[in-house]
């Protein structure tokens, strides 16, 4: 199986230093866990300085798709993936230090016409396909089977990256792909940048100000999710159920 891990130039949240993104390194580990997979990384950008450390975290090869620093990487990544033709594209579920919108894997999957599975924490190959374990809210897990080729994003609660080994980084190789004529500059980010700070943990609104026991109850009750599980329902019945739920939570007004 040919596996390609997308690597973005991240920035450390405290130091601001360029470096690989932890969740993408976790993706490298998941790729390596497939055993015998032909594993390589892909980065689109002016150079591979920020991501080269990924070679020390279990990646033996890295493809660099040269690209102007301000260009939209989507087209370049699409071209590179088509050229390298991997069975599986792995990505972090979002970057770190850029826009961090988490949209790129979806946009890329759409361009490539491949299915995408989000937030994997474990992977296993299964004949021609793949079994992925998805992280859902509050620690829940869901096992999905998917046919290849596909795109899978990795969740931060996946096993942590393999430890950095300088010797492996030293012996890893970086291969430059042919230049890509950027189709468009990246859309200007409509965001404002502010220094990183840890967000305070929100206490469930219903129980704010209530006793500790009440807050615990509120938190654990919310954890139990709610909703109904329908097993192999009739399509019309399923659709009605979804509509009813969307109305109940106020997404649909009528």
């Amino acid at each position: 199986m040919k596996v390609l891990v997308l690597l973005s130039a991240g920035r450390h949240p405290a130091s601001g230093r360029a470096g690989p993104v932890p969740v993408e390194l976790a993706a490298v580990r998941l790729g390596a866990s497939l055993g015998g997979a032909d594993l390589a990384g892909l980065h689109a950008g002016p150079d591979a300085d920020a991501v080269a450390d990924a070679l020390g975290h279990g990646l033996a090869r890295l493809h660099l798709q040269p690209l102007a620093p301000d260009a939209d990487p989507l087209g370049a990544l699409e071209a590179a993936v088509r050229r390298l033709a991997p069975d599986l594209v792995l990505a972090g579920n979002r970057g770190q230090g850029g826009e961090d919108a988490g949209l790129l894997p979806y946009a890329l999957a759409a361009r490539l016409g491949r299915p995408i599975v989000a937030d994997a924490v474990a992977l296993a190959s299964d004949g021609d396909g793949l079994v992925a374990e998805q992280a859902l809210g509050r620690g829940a897990r869901r096992r999905v089977e998917l046919a290849l080729p596909a795109v899978v994003t990795v969740h931060p609660s996946a096993p942590p990256p393999l430890p950095f080994a300088f010797g492996r980084r030293r012996s890893g190789t970086i291969e430059r792909l042919p230049a890509f004529a950027a189709d468009a500059p990246a859309p200007a980010a409509p965001f404002e940048e502010r220094p990183y700070r840890k967000r305070p943990k929100l206490i469930a609104k219903a129980a704010a100000g209530a006793s500790a026991a009440d807050r615990l109850k509120a938190a654990t009750e919310a954890a139990s999710g709610g909703g109904r599980v329908l097993v192999a329902p009739d399509p019309a019945e399923a659709a009605a159920e979804i509509l009813a739920h969307l109305r109940a939570i106020g997404v649909l007004k009528r």
Binding site: H12, R17, P160, L162, F164, A165, F166
Partner: protein, 652 residues
């Protein structure tokens, strides 16, 4: 033929066989990597190194020192005398006979002393096995020689006695030769050669060479040591010199805590990896030893479940150098352990689980906690902490640059640093800090074998430091002190660093700080815990004691202090490696402090503070010497503290 020339021939044969054994062993050493050895200087220095450095260590155990002097001295003198039996005229000279008898009698007494050490019960630190053959072999050889001497003395009628002596000596000599090649007697030639070809030639005659040697990261060979052949040949020679005296084992804090490390056994495992199938080990094992396959060879891995040494063994070490300090054969255990770690870390990425994140943060944030470098000064909230970047370009260079170190992020240690900053203010020291430009010094990365990250940090820090103008670097962290003072020079950083204990002592001695008597405010004695990286690594044991004595406190010494002090358990990345044992090292050390009956343990290191403060239950209080000094300065009668009156404590 008479007994005298026969004995002489026997001695010569013994010597020839010894040389042959040494040459055979040398073939093994040559499997190691090449090393630059200045043979001429080494051989010239050999007698001095033996008489000073080795003897200083051996003499700590007076019985062993006497035993070795008598046994070795007697054996060598008697054997050399024995060779003179070839001179026909001497074969019947009563004077020669008397001298020979005397020398062999001394050797015999030495042999008996060697035997007495292991009887009636063998002390745990000593080895059994082939070591039990040494006393009978020595006594047989020396007793036989003694009989020959007596026979010569007694005259021609006693030739039969002489022949009996020759036979006895021959039997003893045969065993000795056997033990020379693969047994306890190997230390004779390996030890001597190791002294001459020692990889740290500057550690002798009062010198201290404690910096780790850098790894050439660009060299094509593998990083660190995987197999015995990856060690330099003179390191292999050093392992072979081990006499299994167990002094390192007794000193090792990890061994005492029941962690799976015993420096003596580790050295023997390295010997066993180089030459599998040798003399079986008969000393104490690794405590709570983890199972390994026990397979080794010159080109086979040393560390691993399928090899000789379990990874937990090398990660238990605190790099405290207590073993090195106690080793009479001048073996460098810490170098070996760090070399093994380097391969695990840099080639395999096999670091202990809890060390992964700190190492990653060191790479990405230049700080093992992943915290903002600018937050290092937060401990000082409310105190003036001038930044060196804010000094006007035309200002004089700062008197000292205060290197805050990792401890600055720790709440408890922040109190110590606050005390230090206030003392600097009181003494009107012109100081500054690097602010967000101070990165981690790289100590943790280096001890954990991540030489690449260490070198990045070292180079970055050296570049920063060379941009600023200051007199000396002042730090309260002995690890930073050691790294900057002793390990940065290999990367082009030649900086003068002073520890806060010495600096504060200077300030008080120079009259810049007036101290009052703390005796009344703090009843009870104080005992000082030497940080390994200050005492053993840098030889600074006096200044902190001098300073404490100025405060009017009663000072008591723990059984292990100064350069022979015991580690707090915090060095070498041991706390992040966190290898399970039966006890905790800081609990053991705190127990030793309690034994003195002192009410306060004075410390001088952020790591010692954290480790000793972590001890639960009734125990002496932990105070840094800066905290104690500040209390004494505050206790000084106002008239006696002019410096403080002129400049009130700075408040930002």
């Amino acid at each position: 033929m008479t007994p005298a020339p026969t004995l002489a021939l026997l001695v010569l044969i013994l010597a020839a066989l010894a040389v042959a054994q040494a040459l055979r062993r040398a073939r093994l050493w040559r499997r190691g990597r090449p090393a630059h050895v200045d043979w001429l200087a080494g051989l010239k220095a050999l007698p001095r190194r033996y008489l000073h450095d080795v003897h200083d260590v051996v003499a700590r155990d007076p019985y062993a020192a006497r035993m070795h002097a008598i046994a070795a001295g007697g054996l060598i003198t008697a054997s050399v005398l024995g060779v003179f039996g070839l001179v026909p005229a001497l074969g019947h000279s009563p004077v020669y006979g008397a001298l020979l008898a005397l020398a062999f009698a001394a050797a015999l007494a030495g042999g008996v002393m060697v035997g007495r050490r292991r009887s009636p019960v063998k002390p745990a630190r000593l080895s059994g096995g082939r070591f039990r053959l040494v006393p009978p072999a020595l006594t047989a050889y020396a007793g036989g020689g003694l009989l020959v001497g007596i026979a010569i003395l007694a005259g021609p009628g006693f030739a039969a006695l002489g022949w009996l002596g020759v036979a006895l000596a021959a039997a003893g000599a045969a065993v000795l030769v056997y033990l020379l090649g693969d047994g306890p007697m190997r230390h004779v030639f390996a030890g001597a050669l190791h002294l001459a070809a020692h990889p740290r030639s500057d550690r002798f005659e009062g010198g201290r060479e404690t910096a780790l040697h850098p790894v050439d990261l660009a060299a094509p060979q593998k990083l660190g040591a995987e197999t015995p052949a990856d060690f330099a040949w003179n390191r292999l020679l050093g392992f072979d010199a081990c006499i299994q005296c167990g002094r390192c084992e007794v000193a090792c804090p990890a061994f005492a805590a029941g962690q799976p490390l015993n420096p003596k056994k580790l050295i023997q495992d390295l010997v066993g990896s180089l030459a599998p199938g040798g003399a079986p080990y008969a000393g104490s094992p690794y405590p709570n030893a983890r199972p390994v396959a026990g397979v080794g060879g010159p080109e086979l891995p040393i560390v691993g479940l399928g090899a000789m040494v379990h990874p937990d063994t090398i990660w238990s070490c605190t790099t405290c150098r207590a073993c090195v300090e106690e080793c009479p054969m001048m073996i460098e255990h810490v170098d070996a352990i760090v070399d093994l770690r380097r391969f695990q870390t840099m080639e395999l990425g096999a670091v202990p689980e809890k060390a992964v994140q700190p190492l990653l943060d060191l790479r990405q944030a230049e700080e093992p906690g992943g915290r903002a470098l600018a937050a290092r000064g937060d401990f000082a909230a409310g105190l003036a902490l001038p930044k060196i970047q804010d000094r006007p370009a035309e200002a004089r260079p700062a008197e000292v640059l205060l290197w805050l170190g990792e401890g600055a992020y720790d709440l408890r240690y922040g109190r110590t640093l606050r005390a230090l900053v206030r003392l600097l203010g009181a003494a009107q020291v012109d100081f500054a800090v690097l602010g967000a430009e101070e990165r981690d010094c790289g100590d943790l990365a280096r001890r954990l074998g991540d030489e690449a990250t260490f070198q990045d940090l070292a180079r970055a820090n050296i570049a920063t430091l060379s941009r600023h103008r200051f007199g000396r670097i002042l730090t309260a962290d002995p690890h930073a002190l050691h790294v900057i003072r002793n390990e940065y020079p290999a990367f082009g950083g030649h900086l003068e660093v002073v520890h806060h204990s010495s600096f504060l002592d200077e300030l008080v001695a120079g009259g810049r700080l007036a101290v009052g008597d703390l005796g009344a405010a703090l009843p009870g004695a104080v005992t000082y815990h030497d940080p390994c990286y200050l005492g053993r690594y840098n030889g600074e044991t006096e200044a902190p004691r001098r300073l404490l004595d100025r405060l009017g406190l009663e000072r008591r010494e723990m059984a292990r202090s100064g350069k022979r002090s015991m580690c707090c358990g915090g060095g070498g990345g041991a706390p992040v490696a966190d290898i399970e044992g039966e006890r905790r090292i800081p609990d053991l050390r705190m127990g030793q402090a309690s034994e003195t009956g002192a009410a306060i343990v004075a410390v001088a290191c952020p790591t010692c503070t954290a480790m000793l403060e972590g001890v639960t239950g009734a125990r002496p209080e932990v105070r840094d010497i800066a905290e104690l000094l500040l209390a004494a300065v505050e206790a000084a009668p106002p008239a006696a503290a002019p410096a403080r009156q002129r400049q009130p404590e700075p408040v930002a």
